[in-house]
């Protein structure tokens, strides 16, 4: 008789987790795009005259 509530509860759990994984995947894709843009900037800078001088500190 209460199968609807049971079904809804388990569906919500899997849908929410799926949406969160999707959100993580999209964040990762956005970061990869940013990395590509950064690589292009770096290439342009080294072509102009040597590697960047400032050291990147470990974070």
């Amino acid at each position: 008789m209460n199968f609807g509530y049971l079904f809804a509860a388990y569906s919500v759990i899997f849908v929410v987790i799926f949406l969160y994984v999707l959100f993580l995947w999209r964040r990762q894709a956005a970061l990869e795009q940013e990395l590509t843009a950064l690589e292009d900037r770096f290439r342009a800078l080294t072509e102009k005259g040597g590697a960047p001088r400032a050291k990147v500190r470990k974070v």
Partner: protein
């Protein structure tokens, strides 16, 4: 090594989650008084467990961040807060879906429900603070303090069923001591579910933590690149 660990956690968590689902619907007996809807409990309790552990981790990371001032602690705390928030949301939703047929209401201002809602609101505030501000050390320090203060609600939730008059079932540790699960199959199903959720949540935490670490490193690289570009332009 890290990638193998992440993949292993994801694969084992998913496999165990499927096993737990099979046990919930095919193995465990139906509870006599509550009927089929009691089966929500086998995923509701592990969600609460993950939320509490995640928020405790936020507090621990907050303490280490304030103490050592290392970005890695802030990133780990942020990742744990996000994972905890997902599971705390699931606790409230699945709890409501159980309460409607059992209590006849989606929500009551019971001590355990209210303290859990307060926890959800506190970490909602934490995540809003992170989302709406710049990634600065000052915001990270504020967030660390909020994370530590908010986690004080976790032990209050755990003992709320013993401290106040409540209608929420005290299943894991009853008021008389011991646990409220009569059948060993119920205990086994709950333990498998908790193990599955722990592995799965650890996988989510590692994924989010890796994203935040990459974001931190990218920000640092972008900052140095911009400095170099400026100095080159100055020389020209």
């Amino acid at each position: 090594m890290k990638r193998a660990l992440t993949t292993g956690l994801g694969a084992s968590g998913s496999a165990l989650l499927l096993a737990a689902l099979g046990m919930v619907f095919l193995y465990v007996p139906t509870e006599a008084t509550q009927g089929i809807v009691q089966r929500i409990f086998y995923f509701h309790v592990p969600c609460a467990w993950i939320a509490f552990v995640s928020f405790a981790l936020v507090a621990i990371c907050g303490i280490f961040y304030l103490w050592l001032d290392q970005q890695v602690w802030d990133d780990l705390g942020y990742a744990a807060a996000e994972v905890g928030m997902v599971f705390c949301t699931l606790v409230l939703i699945t709890g409501s879906l159980w309460a409607k047929p059992i209590w006849g209401a989606w929500w009551t201002w019971d001590s355990r429900l209210t303290t859990t809602l307060i926890l959800w609101l506190l970490y909602g505030g934490y995540l809003m603070l992170r989302a709406m501000s710049e990634d600065t050390a000052q915001v990270a320090r504020y967030a660390a303090v909020v994370g530590i203060v908010a986690a004080l609600d976790v032990p209050v939730i755990v003992v709320s069923v013993r401290l106040w008059r409540t209608i929420h079932p005290a299943v894991l540790v009853t008021r008389q001591g011991g646990h409220g699960l009569e059948d060993p199959r119920m205990v086994a199903t709950l333990l498998v579910s908790i193990a599955a959720f722990t592995l799965f949540a650890a996988w989510l935490l590692m994924l989010r933590f890796a994203t935040l670490r990459t974001r931190t490193r990218l920000n640092e690289l972008a900052r140095h690149l911009a400095l170099n570009e400026l100095s080159r332009r100055g020389e020209e």
